[in-house]
């Protein structure tokens, strides 16, 4: 539902990821975080443009 809502707001689906990781899966947790960090880095920041556009 969150993804559907964010899509309506123009936020890319790739920015959100839901994974279940057990407390015993430390390596998996680390690799998911690394992947996600890398993906967000590729996407770059969600730029705000607070100054312009109005008026």
């Amino acid at each position: 539902m969150l993804k559907k809502m964010l899509a309506q707001l123009g936020i890319e689906e790739e920015r959100v990821r839901l994974e279940w990781v057990s407390a015993s899966e430390g390596d998996r947790f680390a690799s998911i975080v690394d992947e996600m960090t890398e993906r967000i880095r590729e996407l770059g920041p969600v730029s705000y443009n607070d100054g312009g556009g109005n008026g």
Binding site: M1, L2, K4, M5, Q8, L9, G10, I11, E42, L43, G44, V46, S47, Y48, N49, D50, G51, G52, G53, N54, G55
Partner: protein, 336 residues
């Protein structure tokens, strides 16, 4: 005691807030007793130049309703701020953007296209759009500039108090009038409503919050005694401020969220997603997909009154010109 000087203004609003002020009925005479109204476009013939001629802080209280979506509204908001000791964001639009802020799912170009070209009643083959400056017979006509993004009042000027509601209920208006009359005002920044959520104040029977299907209000006749959410109707009560007098709930209609987020909550829609997702009862992907489909317009429903005031404020704007070299070409930029 000298009479208070009171200004009432409407920006991007429907007029309902002004009508709500009149809804206090005979109490309006009490307002007239304690206050001289110096600007009220819906009811009295004062002009902007009357306000411009005043000293700064000459107005004691300004009740400002409506969001800010064009340059005239922004200019008057700044003018009234300069002239007023106390600025009150009156009604959901001034507080959170309100219904006009659903325009933040689109932008000026798209709105103009729809309003002046696409709408079936239009005949506009030359694609004429409103211009801020138009020359007619050697004279210059001026229109306010329409913004891409609808703003809350507090995004434009400093605001002392917030009175939410679409429109604010009579008892809250009288509370404000009483506070003004007695000078017993809450600390600046206060929201004149309840500190509880609507659910806290709701007296419907609440049992177990587990749902397997979402109904739109026209698809079901709800039991008037039971919690609406438990009946599968999207009710914004869990993440909406109380103090409204449960007007919708008593009419057997779900809360639409017009009182905005409760104390301590920044983003009403995000809180509502988490509240609703947590009562879905299923483990299968297919069932989840079906239920997500049952909420036809989640962003528009959960941010119905609060989009301008949310963390994201608007749908991201398509980039108008070529992005700088350091930005990925596919990136879009959020614009105001």
């Amino acid at each position: 005691m000298a009479k208070l000087k009171l200004a009432l203004y409407w920006a991007a609003s429907c007029g309902g807030c002004d009508v709500a002020v009149l809804d206090v009925n005979e109490k309006i005479l009490d307002v007239a007793e304690i206050a001289d109204i110096v600007l009220w476009p819906i009811a009295l013939d004062f002009k902007y130049h009357h306000v411009e001629a005043m000293e700064d802080n000459a107005i004691d209280v300004c009740l400002f309703n409506g969001a800010v979506r064009n340059s005239e509204q922004e200019k008057i908001a700044r003018l009234l701020r300069d002239k007023s000791k106390t600025m009150v964001a009156f009604g959901s639009c001034a507080c959170f953007g309100g219904i006009p802020a659903l325009g933040n799912f689109t932008n000026r170009a798209e709105i103009f296209e729809r309003a002046y070209v696409e709408a079936p009643s239009n005949d506009n083959p030359d694609r004429a759009f409103p211009q801020t400056i138009t020359q007619v017979d050697g004279n210059e006509l001026e229109l306010p500039e329409f913004f891409d993004t609808v703003l809350t009042l507090a995004q434009v000027v400093d605001v002392e108090y917030f009175v939410p509601g679409c429109p604010p209920p009579v008892d809250l208006i009288l509370k404000v009038v009483d506070a003004l009359a007695t000078g017993q005002l809450p600390p600046p920044g206060a929201v004149i409503a309840s500190d509880k959520t609507l659910c806290d104040e709701c007296d419907r029977k609440k049992e177990e919050k587990k749902i397997t299907k979402i109904y739109r209000p026209h698809e079901i006749i709800p039991d008037p005694e039971r919690c609406l959410l438990e009946q599968g109707i999207l009710c914004m009560g869990p993440a909406t401020r109380g103090g409204c007098g449960l007007r919708c709930i008593k009419a057997n209609m779900p809360c639409r969220g017009c009182f905005g987020p409760p104390a301590g909550v920044y983003d009403q829609g995000a809180k509502l997603v988490s509240a609703i997702a947590s009562i879905y009862q299923t483990n299968s992907e297919a069932e989840i997909a079906r239920m997500v489909d049952e909420i036809v317009d989640p962003a528009g429903t959960l941010y119905r009154f609060g989009l301008a005031d949310s963390l994201l404020r608007r749908k991201r704007m398509p980039l108008a010109k070529a992005p700088p070299a350091t930005v990925e070409p596919a990136l879009e930029v959020i614009g105001r």
